[in-house]
Amino acid sequence: MTQTNDGKCGCCCGIDLTRVKEIISECGTKENCLIPILQKVQDEYRYLPEEAMALIAEKLGISPATVFGVATFYAQFSLDPKGKYIIKVCNGTACHVRGNKTIIDAIRNRIGLEAQSGTTSDMMYTLETVSCLGACSLAPAVIINDKVYGTMNPTKMVAAIDELE
């Protein structure tokens, strides 16, 4: 991924950056505002568009490399657009012990994803693994968008995805 130095959109992709500007003015331009800004931008756009990061760097008076460095450090941030449904399979200890691997495989098979994680080509689903959702007593646990599903098994999981559509 390349970064433009002038802080302007470098790829003519036509992404509307109005919300980014608003978010920056809500959060402020101190260095410690960077992470909250990135979080809000990601909430809004479901990922961090390159142009948005460049704009944030310019407004905060820091280098695009710093923004990029922070964005790639934290697992929460994504530089690629995500699907409509974000399926997060817990890969914490309790869920691992109770067999989340078979659930991941069942999901991949159901949504047609070759890789262990990522987004389907039709932009419908993103599969991720996360560490501990705090529902360990109900392992294995999965979150789809904001809804938590406890005590999953492959069959229940496929049924839950079927229900989404």
């Binding site: 992470i35 098979n109 496929v158």
Partner: protein
């Protein structure tokens, strides 16, 4: 209803008296657990169903404690037995019923039978899965009877949204007690209590407070570590969500004691419910003058901000956490300087764990001696643990420090849950922790006893493993975790964990050699000694402890090409025994990847290239025809 500004102990006492009177005037109170676990089982829908159906049935009910109505609906924090959630604790004065696995469909019957007629809905009672015995009240259930709750009595009992109910439990009296006193005395009281950091290290909290109090500087900060990165642990999340006011009170007391006027709570992003609850609690405190300028009419000012984490385990490390609050990459830095002298923005900073702070109000109110009456000489007090894994009762527990592992696994946890599978090990302390065996069942859960056997309390995650768990895989799991969470600053942590992971993968793929074990051990010690922060220093622990206590399992994978636990897929293929298969087709229906095909009434076959080895077919087959 607003409770107005609180400016004196008298104000707190008045509110408390009003709460007590209001609770007394109620006929029935429905305490529905809406903690993270129960929410995952649908507690929010049950809550909504109660709201709608109580109204539809003409039962006049209240949510706010001061409303004058005889039926109260309350949403509490974690009540502990998450596995059986959503939990509903019904209180009629002295009489209580405890319902488990409540669904929206049960709500009609609960209202008609229990709320109106005060009778029990038998089928919703907790039944011991082993003995079949049904329990009417919560505290008779062995899971609860064997605990000693101090924090959890608040968490699972008051409405987590209510400041008034917290004050009704003597909440914020701790602040009233210390305002105007010498701040050194407050530090001393905490020191005398013997409270040790609940975030893992077990450093004496009072001593940390004294260092920060003595540090020179006009501006100081108080930081709460709510990152709870240890996978398999959820105690801090439960406290932030269900008992936020205890945490805030602890932080305010800490602020006064060390001379700080600003605090930060760093909460991991995976806890949206905790964040919401903390925001509400902070707003409530600001409104009635428990936070902000001139707290309770004194000249003490204190404000608290929330910082959401962004998903990096290493940010639980205190220096990394501080960098993350400052808006940078969360990488640890060398100590000294310690945060007590140079922390957030270079200012003296007190940093403690959620549970550490939440224990403080009780200590200030009841005194150091009270706290010391629980636990052991060197590890006083109670501690929460999350008990998970292959055990009958999973959930959140609170026990005096020094309770044995046996008591937790058997008396509270109810023993192993899979029929015929014996207890094998308990993993304690998360990725920095260790696996302990049957021989350690009498070991006490306290800082020093665990250290002696090469483990640590850590944050309090306790994962029970039975015979079906492969210990090499457990070690591989934690290695994979620390490897991907290593921030990359130290070469040994970054590269060493990767090489260790490769060796473990090689063994699990059936390609290991015996000499790999020596290399693994050697690498483990090098990574431990050559890393800056606790992540790298402790990352080898799961490998070291499994090598120490379960070496034969490693050897079996390498020499016999077998997984003694029968868990490793490499050594396993699923097939259908044509002799036993009746051709019912159930397995093909259950297979989530359509790997099974055949004609009804003749034997089915499994396509090994499609099979994900989930075992659903074997679980379904009534004739035992699936072999692996």
């Amino acid at each position: 209803m607003s409770i107005g500004k609180i400016t004196s102990v008298q104000d707190l006492n008045n509110i408390k008296a009003k709460v007590t009177a209001a609770l007394k005037a109620e006929r029935v109170r429905l305490l529905l657990c809406c903690g993270n676990g129960c929410a995952a089982s649908g507690a929010d829908d049950v809550y909504k169903a109660f709201e709608e159906k109580l109204a539809a049935k003409g039962v006049d009910f209240k949510v706010e404690v001061f409303d004058e109505k005889s039926v109260a609906l309350s949403s509490t924090g974690c009540q502990g037995l998450c596995q059986y959630g959503p939990l509903l604790h019904v209180v009629f004065g002295d009489k209580t019923y405890f319902y488990v696995k409540v669904t929206p469909d049960d709500v009609d019957e609960i209202i008609d039978t229990t709320v109106k007629d005060e009778k029990i809905v038998e089928r919703l009672l907790f039944k011991d899965p082993k003995t079949g015995k049904a329990y009417v009240t919560k505290n008779e259930i062995p899971f609860y009877a064997n605990q000693k709750p101090n924090l959890m009595t608040g968490c699972g009992v008051i409405d987590s949204r209510s400041l008034e109910e917290y004050i009704g439990q003597d909440g914020y009296q701790g602040i009233a007690k210390i305002l105007g006193t010498d701040r050194k005395d407050v530090c001393k009281e905490v020191l005398d209590s013997g409270l040790r950091g609940r975030g893992g290290g077990g450093f004496p909290t009072g001593r940390k407070w004294m260092f920060t109090e003595m540090a020179k500087g006009e501006k100081k900060y108080v930081v709460c570590n709510g990152d709870e990165g240890d996978p398999g642990a959820f105690m801090d999340g439960a406290v932030m969500e269900g008992y936020a006011h205890a945490l805030l009170e602890g932080m305010i007391i800490a602020g006064y004691a060390v001379g700080a006027d600003e605090g930060y709570i760093y909460v991991r992003a995976e806890y949206p419910r905790a964040i919401k609850s903390l925001r509400r609690a902070i707003a409530q405190c600001e409104e009635c003058g428990l936070l902000g300028k001139n707290i309770m009419g004194s000249d003490f000012n204190f404000e608290i901000h929330i910082k959401e984490g962004a998903g990096a385990f290493v940010c639980g490390e205190e220096t990394a956490l501080i960098h993350s609050i400052e808006g940078q990459r969360g990488m640890p830095s060398p100590k000294p300087p310690f945060p007590a002298n140079s922390g957030l923005w270079g200012k003296p900073t007190l940093i403690n764990n959620v549970e550490t702070y939440a224990n403080v109000p009780n200590i200030i109110r009841n005194g150091a001696a009270w706290f010391r009456s629980y636990g052991t000489e060197t590890s006083p007090g109670t501690k929460t643990f999350s008990v998970t894994g292959e055990v009958v009762n999973t959930g959140l527990i609170e026990i005096p420090m020094g309770t044995t592992i046996k008591k937790v696994v058997y008396d509270i946890g109810g023993g192993t849950r899979n029929a015929g599978k014996e207890f094998k090990a308990v993993q304690i302390g998360g990725p920095s922790g260790a696996c302990l065996t049957k021989d350690h069942l009498d070991v006490q859960l306290d800082y020093d006893a665990l250290k002696k056997v090469g483990a640590m309390v850590g944050s309090g995650g306790l994962v029970v493993l039975d015979e079906s768990t492969c210990m090499v895989k457990v070690a591989r799991f934690f290695m994979g975790f620390t490897q991907s969470e290593s921030c990359g600053k130290c070469v040994l942590c970054r590269e060493g964990t990767k090489r260790m992971l490769e060796i473990l993968d090689k063994i699990l793929a059936g390609e290991g050699e015996l000499k790999d074990l020596d290399v693994l051990e050697d690498l483990a010690l090098t990574v431990r000694d050559g890393s800056l922060c606790g992540l790298g220093k402790t990352a080898p622990n799961p490998v070291l402890s499994t090598l120490k206590y379960f070496r034969d399992e490693y050897v079996a994978h390498i020499v016999d090409k077998k997984c003694p636990a029968g868990q490793c897929d490499t050594f396993k293929t699923y097939s259908i025994d044509p002799e036993k298969c009746k051709g019912c087709g159930m397995c093909a229906k259950k297979c989530p990847v359509n790997a099974i095909s055949g004609e009804v009434k003749s034997p089915y076959t499994i396509d090994a290239s499609k099979c994900i080895k989930c075992g659903a077919c074997a679980d379904t087959c009534k004739f035992g025809a699936v072999k692996f």
